[in-house]
């Protein structure tokens, strides 16, 4: 099944025909037949790669290796998936070699984690009716959580203490990627493990959240012919340019807001508040709003760069962040702000809950699934991601200090539940009532929620509430 490449809309994009909506800062070069035709020639591919390399060099980190891998894939499209695996392994090992004090040691650990992923994948494929074969994700996540608990209680002075923790850290960076390959186990056109391996922290970049999901998704968004490849690559180049423009804007934003105007950061404002030297209410608002915009822009820069590389490799992936401020509901913002994290929560927590439990109770079913994803899944992901707190504070204290982010997750899940349970009718008409006002309310909600969006455990929940009250000129 192919995806229409030329006019692929982004996540949740209403089709608008307004003049403003049609305006493009970067022209839609992928719709120009001459450019698409040129991009299919050897000279065109070289020009595209050169321009893309120039763009990547702006970011400065390991761009030569990435562009070499992309060039290999661009000229051997029939071997694309195999080359993605090769490039992914190469970049993982080269990264360790360049950045680690004990590269061989970490390469062995990464290899062990990949072998573990392979064993789990083959077990699920070969024994689909076994308990593990039917619930591999549950097994993976419970096993992973048990291993984190084991590591947290491992004697600190022990000979294998560092090895156990290094393995846990590396496993944490791969666990969701292994999960996606397990989700692919029953697909009729399932890839073998060699190709699945190419999606384990792929060479185009990733955080602990898999960009861009797993092998099943890659198969469906892969360019099928030279024209689709050219269109996808042109879209990749455009996205990279957009990422650079946003990055330049972010630099200017930082200089203007935090250097020239000296806006306080949220951690600073919280610190002053906790020490009974609170900032005036307008300064609290200023720091909150500045952080809100900073987060959106910086996540856009990161996501666009990664998705641009993925597109350049011939996969027409959706953007990670797409016009979040135009969202008219809380759920829509969550989808538009961090698409691949939302997909992770949906794939690993929402659907398994929704499809299994409370099937006779429509509303309860939806609420349970939303809480499983936006509350439990979200909290689980971030708790496991920040392993250094568990290692340094111990499991019990790390969990106790997690109260602020748990509160954040619970409020987020409640708000998404309400947003989803409200009647979905036709949108209000008019720009102000139909678009501006709902978008403003959604942005305001997320902006305020950001007061509790910290997982760094610096201050207890009460201090975050104190800061929240100061926004409205109250003193607690």
């Amino acid at each position: 099944m192919s995806v229409a490449l030329g006019a692929t809309p982004e996540p949740g994009v209403p089709q608008s025909s307004g003049r403003l909506a049609r305006f493009r800062l970067i022209p839609r070069v992928e719709t120009y037949p001459k450019i698409v035709a040129f991009s299919q020639t050897i000279a065109g591919k070289l020009v595209l790669l050169a321009l893309f390399g120039l763009g990547l060099s702006y970011y400065g980190d390991d761009w030569q290796l990435t562009i070499a891998c992309l060039a290999l894939i661009a000229f051997l499209p029939s071997r694309r998936r195999m080359l993605v695996t090769f490039s992914t392994l190469l970049s993982a090992f080269v990264f360790q070699w360049k950045n680690s004090s004990h590269p061989l040691y970490f390469i062995v650990i990464i290899s062990l984690v990949c072998v573990l992923g392979g064993l789990l994948f083959w077990s699920a494929v070969l024994r689909p009716r076994s308990w593990f074969g039917r619930r591999p994700i549950l097994f993976l996540l419970c096993g992973y959580a048990a291993f984190v608990v084991f590591a947290s209680y491992f004697p600190r002075g022990s000979r294998y203490y560092q090895l156990i923790w290094d393995f846990t850290y590396i496993l944490t960076t791969y666990v969701w990627f292994i999960g996606y390959s397990l989700l692919d186990r029953n697909a009729p056109d399932r890839d073998d493990f060699g190709l699945q391996l190419g999606t384990y922290r792929p060479f185009w970049g990733s955080t602990n959240t898999p960009f861009v999901k797993g092998a099943g998704y890659l198969r469906r968004i892969e360019a099928r012919d030279a024209e689709q490849l050219a269109v996808t690559q042109l879209k990749g180049l455009k996205l990279l340019v957009w990422s650079i423009l946003l990055s330049l804007f972010l630099d200017a934003f930082n200089r203007c807001i935090y250097v020239s105007l000296r806006f306080p950061t949220i951690p600073n404002a919280l610190y002053l508040s906790a020490n009974h030297r609170p900032l005036p209410w307008y300064a609290c608002w200023a720091s909150l709003i500045a952080q809100f915009f900073y987060q959106i822009i910086s996540l856009s820069v990161l996501g666009h760069r990664i998705v641009a590389c993925c597109r350049m490799a011939g996969f027409n992936a959706l953007r990670n962040t797409y016009r979040p401020l135009s969202s008219r509901t809380v759920a829509e913002f969550f989808n538009r702000y961090f698409f691949y994290f939302k997909e992770l929560l949906v794939d690993f927590f929402f659907y398994p809950t929704f499809l299994r439990y409370f099937k006779k109770h429509r509303k309860l079913r939806l609420i349970a699934a939303i809480f499983a994803a936006a509350c439990f899944g979200n909290a689980f992901f971030h708790f496991a991601r920040d392993l250094d707190f568990i290692q340094n504070l111990g499991l019990a204290r790390a969990l106790a200090g997690y109260q602020v982010y748990l509160f954040y997750c619970a409020v987020l899940a409640a708000a998404i539940s309400i947003s989803q349970l409200r009647h979905r009718g036709p949108a209000q008409t008019g720009f102000i009532r139909g678009q501006l006002w709902p978008s403003f309310l959604v942005a305001l909600f997320y902006c305020l929620l950001d007061v509790f969006g910290s997982s760094d455990r610096s201050f207890p929940l009460t201090e975050h509430f104190r800061f929240f009250a100061q926004l409205f000129h109250f003193t607690l």
């Binding site: 099944m1 192919s2 995806v3 229409a4 692929t8 809309p9 982004e10 996540p11 949740g12 994009v13 209403p14 089709q15 608008s16 989700l183 029953n186 697909a187 099943g216 998704y217 469906r220 968004i221 959706l318 759920a331 829509e332 989808n335 939302k342 997909e343 949906v346 929402f350 659907y351 929704f354 499809l355 299994r356 099937k359 429509r362 939806l366 699934a369 989803q420 979905r424 009718g425 036709p426 949108a427």
Partner: protein
């Protein structure tokens, strides 16, 4: 109204709720292309469960199986064949 016509109409309404009035064919992608989101997928899942008796907890859920009219037709055929 036959099964596929009912599904087509349902998808048309879901798209309209998102302001998308573009035409679609039986092979048009809804979810992988981003025209519909996971919230819409949930509504489609509920329709397929209630109207056609599909138990996704049993048959396994993969969004690509409901990504187009054609994919849904294949899903319905395979479920009915297995019954």
């Amino acid at each position: 109204m036959d099964d596929m016509a009912e599904i087509r109409e349902f998808l048309r309404k879901l798209l309209a709720l998102r302001g998308d009035r573009q035409p679609f064919s039986d092979t048009s992608s809804f979810f992988l292309s981003g025209r519909l989101g996971s919230v819409d997928a949930v509504e489609l899942v509920v329709l397929l469960e209630e109207r056609f008796g599909i138990d996704f907890a049993e048959v396994g859920f993969d969004q690509s199986n409901i990504d187009s009219i054609e994919a849904i037709r294949s899903l319905l055929q395979s479920v009915r064949a297995a019954e």
